[in-house]
């Protein structure tokens, strides 16, 4: 299951990342393995999504969300 497959309002727990470079950035910003992520909303045009992780909101593109593997 990838983060990009979740619907708005659903939650998932980070398991691992498929992209090394992206994973460093994501982990720095609080997306660590074991963290719970909730999909907060989707941008009006359907691409970036906003997620809630570690107590704050991040925005990322669907392509980037696809690199986050959920438990």
């Amino acid at each position: 299951m990838r983060l990009s497959q979740l619907e708005v309002g659903e939650t998932g727990i980070v398991k691992e990342f498929t992209d090394l470079e992206m994973s460093v950035k994501l982990m720095e910003m609080g997306c660590l393995p074991g963290e719970e992520i909730r999909i907060e909303r989707v941008a009006p045009l359907g691409d970036p999504i906003a997620i809630n992780v570690a107590g704050y909101q991040l925005s990322l593109r669907k392509r980037e969300a696809y690199t986050i593997v959920l438990q």
Binding site: K25, L45, D47, P48, A50, A54, G55, Y56, Q57, S59
Partner: protein
Amino acid sequence: MKADIRVALVGNPNTGKSTLFNVLTGLNQKIGNFPGVTVDKKVGYTTLPDGRVAEIIDLPGTYSIYPKSQDESIVFSVLADKHNAHTPDLVVIILDASNLKRNLLLYSQVADLKIPVVVALNMMDMAKKADIDIDVNLFAKKLGVPVVPISARKNEGTAALKNAISFANKFAFQEDSIDVSTIAPEMVEAIGRELNIDNPYLALQLAHQHETLKFLTPEQSDRIEELEKEFSFNDTVKKPVTAQGETHSNKIDKILTHKFFGFVIFFAILMFMFQAIFSWSSYPMELIGDAFVWVQDSLHHTLPPGPLTSLLVDGIIAGLSGVMVFIPQIAILFAFISILEDTGYMSRVTFMMDKLMRKVGLNGKSVVPLIGGFACAVPSIMGTRTIENWKDRMITIMVTPLVTCSARLPIYTLLIALVVPNRNVWWLFNMQGLALTGMYIFSLISAIVVAWVFKFILKGKERGYFIMELPVYRMPRWNNVIFSMYDRSKAFVFQAGKVIIAISIILWVLASYGPGDRFAKIDQKFSTPQYTQHMTADSLSRTISSAKLENSYAGVLGHAIEPVIRPLGFDWKIGIALITSFAAREVFVGTMATIYSVNGSAEKMQSVYQKMKEAKNPDTGQPVFTLAVAFSLMMFYAFAMQCASTVAIVFRETKNWRWPAIQFAYMTVLAYAAAFIAYVVLK
């Protein structure tokens, strides 16, 4: 100013670092650049309770010292390089109390570099509101460093922070947050031994980052590479402690990023911004313009006439006035930008527009510069710094000058009035208004098309990603708004001003001197009784300046380029105007006024209009300004880079003459082609 101690501010973005910097240093700060990169370097001074002066350097906000952007690698270079001119004696780390957990990563990285650290625990007020309770004493004990709770926005706790700075240790006593020896003990030890570094964490970071660090010699870097291979090891990432936070701006987001209302509100805000830049700036701009005219007039009266006076008044002061009139627009645009950023709305705009803008090679953040370009490209290009991605930023800079700026407006209104009938179609649409609207829409379309082309030409250095924090909505900090208005205006006047004044002086020389004794002959001719007795002094002087302009170097150049611009339908008179308006488009109308020897009264525009309407081609007897010529001219001005301020600011922002040169070249080619097509089609 001489400082006794050097303090660096380090923290995540959106933790109130700049607010703290402003509170600590007040107006006592200056902004420069780190050498070789377009990262702002903010340095200020503050007096500590014990009387010592502390130099405070505000480092760019970063989530980690592991660098992925220019901003971030600056932070590591400053902290790790012992020979850097800015290496601090003490680091103040700003942590967001309402989201401590994520902030601790950066803390642990900086602390492990073994530089003395003081923690400023900011946003204590927000944390309290969110029911987050932090035991400051226990926290300080665990970290082994002083922790000062503050609220930079409310200016609470800053005195205690200054106290902590003055009592800070010269040595780092913090607890290690990572046991480096478990990661790659042999390699770290070897690097430490060979490069004479006693901090294992620094050695580990050097191993990670040596390829991008400028302060290592190539030999050192190569040696680290070898050692890395020798003790091949795996990446490890760490994390400590806990706290929790909760956002409460979801309700606002539901409306502001709504599928329908989100866009409506965004366009309403843009319209308001655009209107404000246009209308609020017109009065101060007029005031500045009038003040310079007054200064020029009174200098002309008081100083003895001669080339030096003329150089000072018509060259330098006129150039200076061309720089100063932009200040109101720059200040207003930056007031808006800083309010939009401060409140957190800008990141929502990016969020909403990203998909659309990405298709043409831009970025969600390009929207604001592009719209700001309707007022003036100069502040908008300065505003592209908010775009982190290099390629996206460059494309935005390259296309922003295509958007119809306010300097093109007088040219368009004049030319449209000449050739488009002033009547209504479909009851309520005025044809002239439609033509003007068409020019505006056309400019936006051309910017998007050119951006799309650049998307394929430019090679991106970094991978474009869009992982970005959506900060909680907050009230803007009015101090910051005023600071940014002041900063940006100052940067523009001092950095772009030099180039503009230089170009103005060159143009002044071109317009006020002629080859050989042409000017003397004109003076001679018009001093004969047949002129002095039959013309009023006023109209005589206008006739003389018109004749002189025709015979000046600019006039000669105008004649010289006539063969080149004839296919566009332009004559040498328009050629002169093209040359004189090279530095600023709005000069076109003024030059037309001089060429058609119009007096400089209040109805200048009206009289230029009359003269141009009556202008006939001496060979054919037909009017000069036909529909084809007027639109060809408008197309030329729509594309041509006739703005010295923009050229100068693009250079300042890109730090490389290649960019303004490429921009100038592509815009001129487009201008010529578009004008030619317009002329041929409409003829």
